[in-house]
């Protein structure tokens, strides 16, 4: 019980729940500034941010889904579907290809959302089925890596707006939009309420099923966008391996950011911080020549710490 903890300890814990992830990012940055050569180089910063941007975009959708007590395992496969669709439709131009890819994400999201909201399948099962099926579909559509030379798409992946990579700008804008969606819109408040108590939300007249469906659609579209951006950056469509295991990174970002898996609370900015933290962590350990296995162990410790902190909040 939370009450069993001595008051000062409890206050520290409460603080860690709110701001722990920000503090951790700050500490890591400081460490790198002091001990990692060339860390402050602009090039290095750009690389880190460009790498993390797709994860951030996927995590935003994941945070919404987790806020409803759900989970979306299909995001990686949706990314690969988007890559495949882009490759297929690039002949019509970059923008039509992008739209088709996003539509593909919306369809996948609708399938998952309908299973969850209307059929009543457990989210983990419904999206697991999509995880397998959608990647299969993507591989059927485009069985091997396809390189392309469409200048618009390449520009999307590599150009900058006053020094900031476009991908990073898009991720930042989407973050702000999602934060606004969650905090300020009827839809966002309904998402949180449904995650907090579904039966009560139903009795309060909330369109529970529609909201749930929409949440998965948003997650699907965001994943598809992340897939297109990653493809643009690679300058090649690679449905076989694009987005593999990204669902784990996204869930990690959400959890480390302090959003409880039990739903009813969504922390958008902290989720982004969670993604940044994991990115910085692996970059730091790599720069100091620690083996990959170390990175994984440290990540595991951070996840456990984050889960412990949110659990304490949940039981109070």
């Amino acid at each position: 019980m939370a009450e069993a903890v001595a008051p000062p300890g409890r206050r520290v814990l409460a603080w860690a729940q709110e701001y722990g992830v920000y503090a951790a990012v700050g500490v890591l940055l400081l460490f790198n500034v002091l001990f990692t050569p060339h860390f402050l180089d602009v090039a290095n910063f750009r690389t880190q941010l460009v790498q993390v941007a797709p994860i951030v975009i996927v995590s935003l959708g994941m945070a919404l889904v987790i806020g409803t007590q759900g989970i979306d395992l299909s995001v990686g496969s949706v990314m690969s579907l988007a890559a495949a669709l882009v490759a297929l439709y690039l002949g019509y131009g970059a923008w039509p290809a992008l739209l088709v890819a996003l539509a593909g994400g919306a369809v996948a999201g609708t399938a998952g959302g309908a299973l969850v909201a209307y059929v009543g399948v457990q989210p983990i099962v419904a999206t697991l089925a999509l995880l397998v099926g959608v990647r299969g579909l993507a591989n059927v559509l485009v069985p091997q890596l396809v390189e392309f030379r469409n200048p618009d798409l390449i520009a999307l992946g590599s150009s900058s707006l006053s020094g900031v990579p476009v991908i990073v700008v898009i991720a930042a804008v989407l973050t702000l939009l999602t934060a606004f969606l969650v905090r300020r819109t009827t839809f966002g408040r309904q998402v949180v309420a449904i995650g907090g108590n579904r039966a009560a939300s139903e009795l309060s007249g909330l369109p529970v099923r529609r909201v749930l469906l929409l949440v998965y659609v948003i997650s699907g579209v965001l994943a598809a966008l992340a897939g297109v951006l990653a493809t643009a950056r690679l300058q090649a469509s690679d449905p076989t391996s694009l987005g593999l295991f990204i669902e784990l990174s996204a869930i990690t970002a959400v959890v480390v950011g302090g959003t409880p898996l039990s739903g009813g609370r969504i922390r958008v900015l902290s989720t982004v911080m969670g993604a940044l933290l994991m990115q910085l962590l692996s970059a730091t350990l790599i720069k100091h020549n620690l083996p990959q296995s170390w990175t994984q162990i440290v990540q595991a410790v951070i996840i456990l710490a984050a889960v412990y902190a949110t659990r304490e909040r949940g039981t109070r």
Binding site: T186, R189, N197, G264
Partner: protein, 516 residues
């Protein structure tokens, strides 16, 4: 009970603070063996907190607990239970998905060879135990499929079955019918005769006087009075609870419903505010017809499981129906959609506030605004100014006690959570309100206010369907009463026929008829 006996459980100058409130401030209470000790006070006075300190849920910030003559500090509720302190909490905390039998026998299931649970014996034993409490039912069904009344009886049977020296009951009767309350009282008397100390928390004063020996009154976290109950006049008790002068209480009055419109009532409007026809659901409702005219308060009477809550849920579309239709102000309502019902101005205040009412982690403010969100926003963006205004109005009007509107609703006392739910429904400006146990867990002062409010709204043309296990409330509040039995309307009382006696006989008579 012998006055000289040493206390079995004693609190000495216990204090407990939460962020923003002092819940307990130097509270002392001595519990003697073989006494039934009433613990009373306004909503948020600290009753549940004191109980949770007794049982190791909360650790006190100061003071001592003495159990059997020696200081104790229970780390967890389980420790307290093992030591012989058995508790029925205010919010039933059993496991909804598990069967009734499982819940009852949890932790002490009969085991066969190899330590495997002997399910046949478990079901048999559970059936036998529950029958002793007047509950005859299929113990294999999951607990959540039953109403709050049955759940409370299961919690009671479970608490008493554990070999205890102290039994604590936090509002055990809030969902019980008179008949079950009688069963509960005979259980309490038996416990007392066995020398067990009972702590009894309730807002129903009649019950206190019927079963309790001594009383401790809490007010704002302090002990306002402690002593024998019989010597304490009823109004004096209320005055102590509210912290007012006796005279003030006497003249200010605690009138509840003040209606005498029953006779003069002509049905304004050509059509009922809501008309439900032939509501049917297998094994639950068998063709229920209910109409409520604007300005009318219709009560639903009947025993537990008669289908009262189900009728209300069927009307708002929260219970899938096999047949039947609902017409609101002349327009048919899309079935099976609470969203459509609320848009038409029909709201249901549910009976089970923990499972179906509050969104625990959200703030008081968001809980109040929840159902009215569409009307408190523009183009899908919520308007803080509008929400603040509504929240302010209702927090003041219902006197909701919270550290701030931004406090998570789960941190409020039970009665204050109930007020938050009421506010949620009033905020949608309803045309018809279905109130399932609206004053459940609300203190005397607030109860009068809520009832006056219902009155006032009815006066303004609101139609109300009132479900209450408190017969007095039903009689004083309702213009007309429909008596339900086994999912069908078996009688209607109106005008001077509406008395506690006629309702009781109506329920019993019809019962005898259909039994015989």
């Amino acid at each position: 009970m012998s006055q000289s006996a040493a206390p079995v459980l004693e609190a000495r100058r216990i204090s407990k603070r939460f962020p923003g409130v002092v819940a307990l401030d130097g509270v002392s209470l001595a519990l003697l063996p073989g006494e039934v000790h009433a613990l009373v006070g306004e909503n948020g006075a600290g009753k549940s907190t004191l109980i949770k300190v007794f049982t190791g849920v909360h650790r006190p910030d100061g003071g001592d607990l003495i159990y059997n003559g020696s200081p104790v500090a229970f780390g967890t509720p389980l420790d307290a239970q093992r030591a012989g302190i058995s508790t029925i909490y205010q919010e039933v905390n059993l496991v909804p998905m598990m069967s009734v039998a499982r819940n009852l026998m949890l932790g002490r299931e009969p085991r066969g060879r190899l330590g495997v649970i002997d399910t046949a014996r478990m079901y048999g034993e559970a059936e036998r135990i529950l029958a002793g409490y007047g509950v005859v039912t299929d113990v294999r069904r999951p607990l959540r499929t039953f109403g709050m009344g049955v759940q409370q009886m299961v919690a009671l049977a479970r608490a008493v079955a554990i070999d205890a020296r102290v039994v604590i009951m936090d509002e055990p009767t809030s969902s019980l019918e008179p008949r079950e309350v009688e069963t509960l009282f005979s259980v309490i008397r038996r416990l007392r005769d066995d020398g067990i100390a009972v702590v009894y928390v309730s807002h129903r004063l009649d019950e206190l006087y019927e079963v309790c020996d001594r009383v401790t009154v809490l007010r704002d976290g302090r002990v306002a009075h402690t002593g024998p109950l019989a010597e304490l006049e009823r109004l004096k008790l209320i005055a102590l609870m509210l912290g007012r002068d006796l005279d003030e209480v006497r003249t200010g009055g605690l009138t509840r419903f003040s209606r005498d419109r029953r006779h003069a009532r002509e049905r304004d409007g050509a059509q009922p505010a809501v008309r439900a026809e032939g509501l049917t659901r297998r094994q639950v409702l068998r063709g229920v017809d209910v109409s409520v005219w604007p300005g009318e308060v219709v009560g639903l009477g009947g025993l537990l499981g008669a289908g009262r809550s189900e009728t209300a849920k069927g009307i708002v579309g929260a219970l899938p129906l096999d047949a039947g239709r609902v017409v609101v102000a002349g327009l048919p309502l899309r079935t099976g959609s609470t969203t459509a019902a609320i848009r038409a101005g029909v709201g249901l205040l549910p009976e089970d506030r923990k499972a179906e009412g509050i969104i625990p982690a959200l703030s008081v403010r968001e809980n109040i605004a929840l159902a009215a969100l569409p009307s408190l926003s523009r183009a899908g963006v919520v308007s803080d100014a509008k929400i603040d205004k509504v929240v302010e109005v209702f927090m003041r009007r219902l006197r909701i006690k919270a550290a701030s509107p931004h406090q998570p609703v789960q941190e409020l006392s039970g009665g204050n959570q109930q007020k938050v739910l009421l506010a949620r429904w009033l905020a949608i400006r309803p045309k018809i309100l279905l109130l399932d146990e609206p004053t459940r867990g609300i203190d005397v002062g607030a109860k009068a206010e809520v009832q006056a409010l219902v009155d006032e709204l009815a006066e303004e043309g609101l139609g109300v369907l009132l479900i209450s296990s408190d017969l007095e409330e039903l009689v004083e509040g309702a213009d007309r009463i429909l008596v339900l039995r086994e999912g069908a309307v078996v009688g209607e009382l109106s005008g001077d026929d509406v008395t506690e006696d006629t309702i009781m006989t109506s329920i019993a008579e019809r019962g005898a008829e259909s039994d015989g």
